[in-house]
């Protein structure tokens, strides 16, 4: 092409590649909890619906699966973009390490395929399949979701703790041990942490929708059930996550000292290290601002040794091999946000759990519903923060101690342009997704549009007259704009 165009496009691709990867992952990771946990919640509702003959539960499962169809579709395409990006943004990383790093993704492909197949059967099987066989077609979705998460996190763990390969003198990967690649040191805890996070976030997102509905005065069985199923899942996950997270932090202390120094914002190696809340590093690399809790970082790192526990500081790692000061600020802030929000959500869960245990009811104060309504967004913020900690905390490495991000990036100068286009496109897609999910909910509230008829109808030619209550026949041509007054 013309020299002018080449000149315009000649922008350093590395920061843009990082931004694009971060942005597309940040969007995709919101859809992950829905993909992993929502199917489980829908099955809980489905099970209850069949077992206890509860039409509201069936309706809930049916509607959830309809929404899932949309979120899964968007998750599938944003996931496909990530697959492309490994090549488009990080070709030099993939070219060198694909032979090891690629293995967990091959396994993930297996789970994703299974998930895509059964989600299609489950979502489209409501009408014509028999109740129990239909329920069981949903179970592989849950299993595949767990397996898929484990595989992808295994790949991420490998970037933090690369193992299972040797490099020859030319820097080529030789002698791969696939098991050691997948089950790298970081994999077990990271996987558990992400899985619990998926159920926690998925549960809080869905519960928050029904919390808002209850705040608006809808206290019917259907709304309560929607809230209870989702919130219970989240409320079990949140305290568990506190324990897993605590274990994880100590693991990072023992195995990834550079990241740990960034997390706790420790400039110099010392004992009796305070836990600093907020604050930042100044130009000299000293901690400025924030609240200090004396000795706590040391105590938490190794409770047995207490305040005499030594924490390695940033100064014990060479400058080009550890996060920059600005990156340390980001990691530390993200850490504080994750811990703060995680604790808040765990407390909210305990409140719910205690009241439920003694009274079999939701906590009475309105404040509870307000917090539950906010929990969806807060849990997503915690998820994003946690992911920021592990990714920015690894900088400047793409494969820890083996390859820096800069060396793995593409040399194509046009990345700034694809970044801008993708931001615009994703913004459009996410806003539309939100609008459409809202609209689906509104249409349902206004009395129907659950399709021509209810679930589990007999096979064979479709009967016309047996539509159960709540389900309204909407002819193809009629655009549904206003409320349809046919609610039973």
């Amino acid at each position: 092409m013309t020299a002018g165009l080449v000149h315009v496009l000649a922008v350093d691709p590395v920061p843009w590649a990082r931004s694009q990867m971060a942005f597309t992952l940040a969007v995709h990771i919101i859809l992950v909890p829905l993909g992993v946990a929502w199917a489980f919640m829908a099955l809980v509702a489905n099970h209850r619906g069949i077992k206890k003959n509860d039409p509201d539960a069936i309706l809930l499962a049916q509607r959830w699966s309809k929404c899932m169809a949309v979120t899964f579709a968007v998750g599938a395409v944003t996931g496909t973009v990530l697959t492309f990006e490994f090549g488009l943004l990080w070709p030099n990383f993939m070219g060198r390490f694909g032979g090891a790093f690629g293995i967990p993704f091959a396994v993930e492909g297996l789970f994703f395929f299974t998930e895509a197949i059964f989600i299609a059967i489950y979502i489209y099987g409501w009408k014509r399949l028999k109740p129990w066989p239909h329920f069981w077609t949903g179970v592989p979705i849950v299993i595949a979701g767990i397996g898929g998460t484990a595989s992808v996190v295994a790949a991420n763990g490998w970037m933090n703790e690369p193992s299972g390969f040797t490099l020859n003198s030319a820097g080529k990967v030789v002698d791969v041990d696939p098991i050691a690649v997948i089950f790298n040191k970081a994999m077990p805890l990271e996987t558990l942490h992400m899985l619990v996070a998926a159920y926690l976030v998925g549960g809080f997102i869905i519960a928050s929708v029904y919390a808002v509905a209850m705040l608006r005065g809808r206290r019917d069985h259907y709304t309560r059930l929607g809230f209870l199923i989702a919130f219970t899942v989240a409320a079990i996950a949140a305290p568990v996550q506190m324990l897993v997270g605590d274990e994880m932090a100590r693991w990072v202390y023992n195995n990834e000292p550079t990241k740990f120094a960034a997390i706790e914002m420790v400039p110099k190696t010392s004992t009796d290290v305070p836990e600093t809340l907020f604050g930042h590093l100044n130009a000299k690399g000293q901690v400025e601002g924030g609240f200090k809790i004396p000795g706590l970082a040391s105590i938490l790192s190794d409770p047995a040794d207490g305040t005499s526990t030594q924490v390695q500081g940033l100064d014990s790692f060479p400058k080009g091999s550890r996060p920059t000061n600005a990156e340390v600020d980001v990691v530390h802030l993200a850490w504080d946000v994750m811990i703060g929000l995680g604790t808040l959500l765990a407390l909210l869960s305990v409140w719910f759990g205690v009241v439920w245990l003694f009274r079999r009811d939701l906590p009475k104060p309105k404040l509870f519903l307000w917090l539950a309504a906010a929990a969806g967004v807060l849990s997503v913020a915690a998820l994003e923060a946690g992911w920021t900690v592990t990714e920015v905390g690894r900088q400047p490495w793409i494969v820890f101690d083996y390859m820096k991000v800069k060396a793995g990036a593409t040399t194509n100068h046009g990345v700034w342009l694809t970044f801008l286009v993708i931001v615009g496109l994703y913004a459009g897609v996410m806003v539309t997704l939100a609008i459409i999910l809202r609209k689906m909910a509104r249409d349902w509230r206004n009395g129907g549009d659950d399709g021509p008829s209810g679930p589990y109808e007999p096979r064979g030619p479709r009967p016309i007259e047996d539509a159960p209550e709540r389900h309204v026949d909407v002819p193809v041509e009629v655009p549904v704009e206003g409320p349809v007054e046919v609610e039973a």
Partner: protein
């Protein structure tokens, strides 16, 4: 045969599956695009949407499969391809986002204007993506992707005779496959008028595809000599078989025969894609990088084979279940937009 060859065959199986299933999906979008105004195109669009509704995500997993096998087993080739073909691959990725999301959204909106907007995005990206994929294949076949994880020319690599031909051929193949499948789907939901509608288009698309493929032979002769030589020697049986299948499907469609056309159409496409693979053997990137030289260590290749076998054991029966349930009309879109059977 060593492990590298086995994985290369697996990769080819993935590409064929993507062409057959993903391709038909894209083709349905092509017919959506050319179906005319909202009123006139309502029924063909409804048939197309009804047909691909339950199966589109599963169909497109094959793309992920191919990319993952390529980067895991043949990392260096993946590096060269993505560095060189940054532009068409970026366009394809953006097209996939636009296509998948607008398809999912269109189903859930009722207003005609919103349906039209999402429909337009869905349909135009359904043409853009296979074009880009075909152009990428053309770039590889004509030897424009260098080996050694190097970047070739960012523009000339995919804006050349072979790539343009590859792109146009890919779009035509998709349209052909989709039209043949849609004849079947229209018959399944009992819409005789649509059966006729797609039958005519299937014949037209089949002829167009044949013409483009014949022109392609001439283009390859001048622009991609290694692949041309392969197609006219060791891959010749596959080329002939493809032509026979294609002609057979036209005859069956023309006679309005109820069986066989679909299978023959699939055969025509599968053999031509396999022919490309055989023609450029033993090169992954003709004529600079051989399959064996590009391959990852054996343990990695074996993992890919194991995963593939597991997929064959787990996913293929599941996929079979999905298609059987779908074909028996046990999977139905629970939505107002689903077409009613014509009485």
């Amino acid at each position: 045969m060593n492990w590298a060859d086995v994985v290369a065959v697996i990769l080819m199986v993935g590409i064929i599956a993507y062409a057959l299933f993903g391709g038909a999906d894209f083709g349905a979008g092509f017919w959506d695009l050319v179906a005319g105004g909202a009123e006139r195109g309502r029924r063909p669009r409804a048939v197309a949407q009804h047909a691909i509704g339950p199966v589109w995500e599963a169909n497109h997993v094959w793309l992920i499969f191919c990319l993952v096998v390529l980067w895991t087993a043949f990392s260096e080739a993946f590096q060269s391809i993505t560095l060189t073909l940054f532009v068409p691959l970026s366009l394809a990725a953006l097209g996939i986002v636009l296509r998948g999301s607008s398809f999912a959204f269109r189903k859930e909106v009722q207003r005609t204007s919103s349906q039209r907007n999402f429909g337009a995005a869905f349909a135009s990206s359904s043409v853009l993506v296979p074009f880009c994929m075909g152009a990428v294949a053309g770039a590889i076949a004509s030897g424009r992707v260098p080996s050694g994880g190097q970047a070739g020319d960012p523009w000339a690599s995919w804006l050349n005779a072979t790539s343009i031909l590859g792109g146009v051929l890919a779009v035509a193949v998709c349209a052909y496959l989709a039209a043949v499948y849609l004849v079947w789907d229209a018959r399944r939901i009992g819409d005789e008028e649509m059966v006729e509608y797609f039958r005519q288009r299937a014949v037209g698309a089949a002829i167009a595809t044949g013409v483009i493929a014949s022109i392609g032979i001439v283009v390859l002769h001048d622009d991609a000599r290694y692949v041309f030589d392969g197609l006219t020697s060791r891959a010749l049986p596959l080329v002939i078989l493809s032509a026979i299948c294609g002609l057979g499907s036209i005859v069956l469609l023309h006679r309005d025969a109820h069986r066989g056309a679909r299978l023959l159409a699939m055969g025509a496409v599968a053999t031509v894609v396999a022919g490309w693979g055989v023609a450029q053997w033993p090169y992954l990137l003709p004529t600079t990088l051989k399959v064996e030289a590009a391959a990852a260590p054996d343990a990695t290749l074996i993992s890919v084979v194991v995963v593939f076998l597991l997929a064959a054991v787990i996913c293929l029966p599941s996929l079979g279940l999905l298609y059987v349930l779908d074909q028996k009309s046990l999977l139905q879109a629970d939505e107002s937009a689903s077409p009613e059977p014509a009485s």
